[in-house]
């Protein structure tokens, strides 16, 4: 293949610099198109299902405490090592593990969502809340009470009942049903499970219609 860097122009195009005029026409057309800017604090972005935001520990409706069983899978899988769990065995109750503390350093977290994927009891979740900046670091080192509190705040914001909440990341994608722990065999919408899962290029095609009506840029 031969690349011609300077396309041949006839003398008329040369004289009137049509290429510059084309460029000018393009910018003029853009002047009257709608800007794609989102005026952030006033206009919030539309959060899609599966958004990975602030961390929370799901509050078990039966006990009122965390569902965590102290298996340490999340702490092991975490790529940024930001999870610290402290637990002890309860001798009186058939060696049941009781969580003393569950800490997440939100400043180190990379929001990969591995912790929610590996958790066998769906105890940890990345909620859809994303505005939780703070002026001091201490406020972003979450301990167990704060994480449970995060869940309560998120649950209060939800429209549907808390019991029905299913985070798509709780069901690891691409695994057969029988390989999943009991708690994770939950119904997730088709686009989040199995072959129909919508990721990458497919996602953009899937949401193409919504995107275009938001932005209004015709490419």
């Amino acid at each position: 293949m031969q690349i011609r860097y300077k396309p041949k122009r006839n003398w008329l195009a040369m004289l009137f610099q049509t290429e510059i005029l084309q460029g000018m026409a393009l910018t003029l057309r853009r002047l009257f198109s709608r800007p794609i800017t989102r005026q952030y604090p006033e206009e919030k972005p539309q959060i899609k299902t599966g958004f990975r935001g602030q961390h929370a520990l799901v509050r078990d409706p039966r006990t009122g405490l965390t569902k965590c069983i102290g298996c340490m899978r999340c702490a092991v899988v975490c790529p940024s090592r930001c999870i610290r769990i402290r637990s002890h065995k309860m001798k009186e109750e058939w060696n049941r593990r009781v969580i003393d503390d569950y800490r997440i350093e939100a400043l180190r977290c990379v929001y990969c969502g591995f912790c929610e994927e590996v958790c066998p009891v769906n105890a940890i979740v990345l909620t859809e809340i994303f505005e939780y900046g703070a002026y001091d670091r201490q406020a972003l080192f979450f301990n167990m009470e704060q994480l449970l509190g995060n869940w309560d705040r998120f649950a209060a914001r939800m429209n549907h009942p808390v019991e029905e909440y299913v985070n798509p990341f709780w069901r690891p994608r691409g695994l057969p049903e029988q390989n999943l722990p009991a708690a994770k065999r939950m119904p997730v919408s088709a686009e989040w499970s199995g072959d129909q899962q919508v990721v990458g290029k497919k996602w953009r095609q899937h949401h193409g219609s919504e995107q275009s009506c938001q932005g209004g840029v015709d490419v």
Binding site: G23, M24, T27, L28, R30, P35, I36, T37
Partner: protein
């Protein structure tokens, strides 16, 4: 008594021009923003309308840093030279019939002299800052001046020939009030050369080589801060306005329009000037920067010969017709 009235007029013009400069920056940011599918300033006031005032207050209270190794007197003088030269050219511009501070017979020549002086400000700033970026900026400004001043002067010779005067009011009157009377059509080559030279003269994109944001980190004003930086900005925008006014006066028929406006005679003049300003901004939003050698090429090999051809043609036609 006359002196007091004159001073009053000067103060009014000064205030109006400063307001113009402030809102020209707003106009530019808004238009470029929308051309890039953004919004431009939106926060200060309704749609950012108070942004220029906030900017002004900010630059006024910013720390004025003078580099230790700088050539201090020159460093301090450079922005003032720029601003004074540009403001002085305002005095000979006829905004409407009789609306001119100094109706002198060498108006056009005076403006050439002053705009050349303004580039001295840029060159001196580049030299005095004692920084590589600034120095390169000053160097480029120098090269730009020698290749564009000539073309610009020559491009307006055609206008002088046709109108037979250097007085700006006389040039406007010579064009008459009809569209056909404008020198835009008979002097189309001159206008082409003038327009390009005008962009280069005001250091605007695509000829913003002295102040090349992307390669020279703002070139000659790298070391400037606070109010001095703002003064350079003012000089640039006043320069744009002066050059746009010259374009309006010499080619678009100045204050003449389809009908006379009773209360505000300079209306047509202002509209035409803003048309030029919009063109400046539009070009800035569209074109990339010329390379140093391409600019010299364009100046010496295209614009100067074209301007000379224009002079000869105009003179011949005038001699034959007149």
């Amino acid at each position: 008594m006359n002196v007091i009235i004159m001073l009053l007029q000067i103060v009014v013009l000064f205030i109006l021009v400063m307001l113009h400069v402030a809102y020209a920056t707003y106009f530019e940011r808004k238009i470029i923003g929308h051309m890039q599918v953004r919004m431009g300033p939106m926060r200060v006031g309704w749609h950012g309308l108070l942004q220029p005032i906030a900017d002004g207050i900010k630059s006024f209270f910013k720390e004025d840093i003078i580099p230790e190794q700088a050539d201090r007197p020159t460093f301090l003088a450079a922005p003032i030279i720029c601003l004074v030269a540009m403001m002085t050219s305002l005095s000979v511009l006829p905004f409407a019939k009789g609306w001119v501070l100094a109706d002198i017979n060498i108006g056009l020549l005076f403006i050439f002299a002053m705009s050349s002086l303004a580039s001295y400000g840029v060159v001196l700033a580049g030299w005095a800052s004692n920084s590589k970026f600034s120095f390169l900026g000053g160097l480029r400004s120098m090269a730009q001046v020698i290749s564009y001043e000539i073309a610009m002067g020559l491009s307006l010779v055609g206008v002088m020939l046709l109108s037979g005067s250097l007085n700006l009011s006389r040039i406007v009157e010579a064009q008459g009030s009809s569209v056909l009377g404008m020198y835009l059509l008979p002097q189309c080559i001159g206008f082409f050369v003038f327009f390009i030279a005008m962009l280069a003269e005001t250091n605007r994109v695509p000829f913003d080589l002295p102040e090349a944001e992307t390669e020279l980190v703002s070139g000659y004003c790298t070391e400037y801060s606070g109010m001095r930086y703002a003064i350079f900005f003012m000089a640039e925008y006043i320069g744009m306005m002066v050059m746009a006014s010259i374009g309006t006066i010499c080619f678009l028929g100045g204050w003449n329009g389809p009908f006379a406006v009773p209360l505000f005679p300079p209306l047509w003049f202002v509209l035409k000037v803003y048309l030029f300003m919009f063109l400046f901004i539009w070009i800035r939003a569209t074109l990339p920067r010329y390379r140093y050698d391409q600019l010299m090429d364009l100046g010496w090999k295209l614009l100067i010969p074209l301007a000379l051809v224009n002079i000869v043609l105009t003179a011949c036609i005038k001699a034959m017709v007149g």
